[in-house]
Symmetry: C2
Subunit: 460 residues, 2 copies
Amino acid sequence: MSDTPSLSAILDRIDAGQDRALDRLKALLRIPSISTDPVHAGDCRAAADWLAEELRGLGFDAGVRSTPGHPMVVAHGGTGARHVLFYGHYDVQPVDPLDHWTRDPFDPAVEATPAGDVIRARGASDDKGQLMTFLEACRAWVEETGALPCRITVLLEGEEESGSPSLVPFLEANREELAAEVALICDTGLHDSRVPAIVTSLRGLLGEEITVRGPDRDLHSGGYGGLARNPARVLTQVLGGLHDADGRVQVPGFYDGIEEPPEEVLRDWAALDFSAEAFLGEVGLSIPAGETGRTGLEMLWSRPTAEINGVWSGYTGRGFKTVLPAEAHAKVSFRLVKGQDPRALRDAFRAWVRGQVPADCEVVFQEHGAAPASGMSVDAPVFAAAKAALTEEWGVEAAFVGAGGSIPIAGYFQLILGMESLLAGFAKSDDQIHSPNEKYDTESFRKGTRSWARLLATLA
Amino acid sequence: MSDTPSLSAILDRIDAGQDRALDRLKALLRIPSISTDPVHAGDCRAAADWLAEELRGLGFDAGVRSTPGHPMVVAHGGTGARHVLFYGHYDVQPVDPLDHWTRDPFDPAVEATPAGDVIRARGASDDKGQLMTFLEACRAWVEETGALPCRITVLLEGEEESGSPSLVPFLEANREELAAEVALICDTGLHDSRVPAIVTSLRGLLGEEITVRGPDRDLHSGGYGGLARNPARVLTQVLGGLHDADGRVQVPGFYDGIEEPPEEVLRDWAALDFSAEAFLGEVGLSIPAGETGRTGLEMLWSRPTAEINGVWSGYTGRGFKTVLPAEAHAKVSFRLVKGQDPRALRDAFRAWVRGQVPADCEVVFQEHGAAPASGMSVDAPVFAAAKAALTEEWGVEAAFVGAGGSIPIAGYFQLILGMESLLAGFAKSDDQIHSPNEKYDTESFRKGTRSWARLLATLA
């Protein structure tokens, strides 16, 4: 793709308008829209109002829509056959511990650092700075050409940092209004803080809680030990057998039907500069713990896992108690990949556990969620267009990457609105999101804006 | 053994004096000598004074000896070449929940029940009723013959229900005064509430706490799961491998040097009417969980165990948290049998665990006690004499039995005073010791007294 004359002018306009764009971002950052704290409900509303006003200034038909929680901003603009939905969130994380901040988290400023200028404030990166890249791209298009390049719906949420309780009902109640060809989501980062990245796969999640019950009361290990069954022994034998020596999960059928990522995606992963040892070294580890023969990125992005998230039984206080506990408990979760059916695996897991529990013990399961993995169809034209736009802008080959966790919004868009999500963002791993001293590189802001402007050009 | 004329008269005297003996027991039971509650310190002292006075009335040179906690009663009486020490404890358990009692726990009374008369009060069985059987046997001897039948030292403790903190220093400070040929301990029960029993083996105990540390912080299971090591997985694999499919402990050398009980003892066990299924049925279980090929009594008394007494890691609250925990912990204990060296096994266990922990995790151990098993030399004459006396009195062949737990006093007597302990008692399994409505069968009291009178006759 070569820059069309108007795109070139649009990009120049973005560069020329950086100071004013940063001023607008600062205005938004000054609003302490912490969604988890009821004290800030009015601030959340103020942030929504500010954004709706901003969108109206760009020619959108924008409104603030009530929910049982914080409001949604919904805006419609542009015309044409192509229709995209942009999603971001205006709420931010709490700021504790406040004394770890080098400045008031809601008094944003551009600071010079050895690695370049940053704008520092709560929400600078997650997600106000990122969502403003898209709005600034729209502004440049409108100011340069007088119109948006295609039909655009904007959906900005105010509860992302508090579990999005109102999101699903809102999507369900406004299906027709919100459905588009594709969702653009700007809430992810550059790979390795350097390579523009499009997340094309997200792992799913299956959560289970297990309780094994043995004797009908806690027993004394002297009077009963050796003859009476210990549920903690039963449960640790089950959990200890979850993986074999090659790190493979032993639940029958666990790997059935798994789709390997497309060749094109695997090629991108192989080309990334990723060192498992360096990645683990940052958290005090050194040895990849996944399946033998898989790369570190496969372990994180395309291979399913079984993890013990919690386990408890018996006496856990100070000192010692020679108790033979009546019950043992564990919380276990599975990260799932494309091709795995959460419901089928739940059944398989439960059957596998039950098969190991002696007849005089009881095992009870509690559900803690089941979400399938999502994998984007990278052969859809918008993915190639986005990759080209990002590559062009950043001067580095953009990569299709995976994400080890879930980004629920992508699943909801697929499930409720029937559309794929294109996840592209410009955060860096040192942005300190959710921590004190959050920042966003001004280059992320400028080049992010230019990236969206380029992508919109291909959709025009 | 046939009753000598004087023994016969002594036994008749015991029967004739039952009402007055029960009155004396009631007087002791009225003193609320709860050792764990500082409010009752004066009552503990009062119980000690009452017992010293009682012993003086029997011709003993008796005194109440201060300790940093509750006092000891020490009494010396009788003459002759044979010298025995009798041990009991005058302190009792707390009485909560008080509203579960059918009467004031410190207002003892004899109640008729379908199974016979019982005396009901806190301490009726554990251990005031039991210790008074020995004192009443002494009384009958003194009243009938004018003297004790041999040299007798009495040691009555007031802290047994609160961990005996003063006992070891007291034994160490009074070695010469307290050492005798054998200790008689009356704090155990009839086997199956019916068969007179002498405990000839006690299992030892080794306690260990394990902490496995992996990443230097809790990680998100989405971002790290699959690549990063999960300490809960490491620890459950270790714990899950503690036993093989035959229930044998997998720590190398664990069974080395174990002495099987003497033939004579195993014959007694085989003759006991013990059903593992019935024993387990009382606590809601049904399947013996010990080593394949061992009897239920072997699993409880003569085979060593490994038990998980506590395990904890990660998120254990309500709901779910997709955490990959930084640490995992367990408390593990081993019941040991004769021939096992606790220190050597501690080293073997730690080496076995360390060998399974990956190089990028750390494992830390904390000691929680190490006590060897004790096994009495049942070929010492006093054991045969006691067995004969009990058999004669109860009309049922007395049995040498084991105990799965530890009775620390027996170990201290062996270690500090160099003497064996003969543990015989008359409690029944339904005596509700440590629970509301504790009782002692008046037949246990009468026949227990007669049992000691008979045993003293053989020592005369």
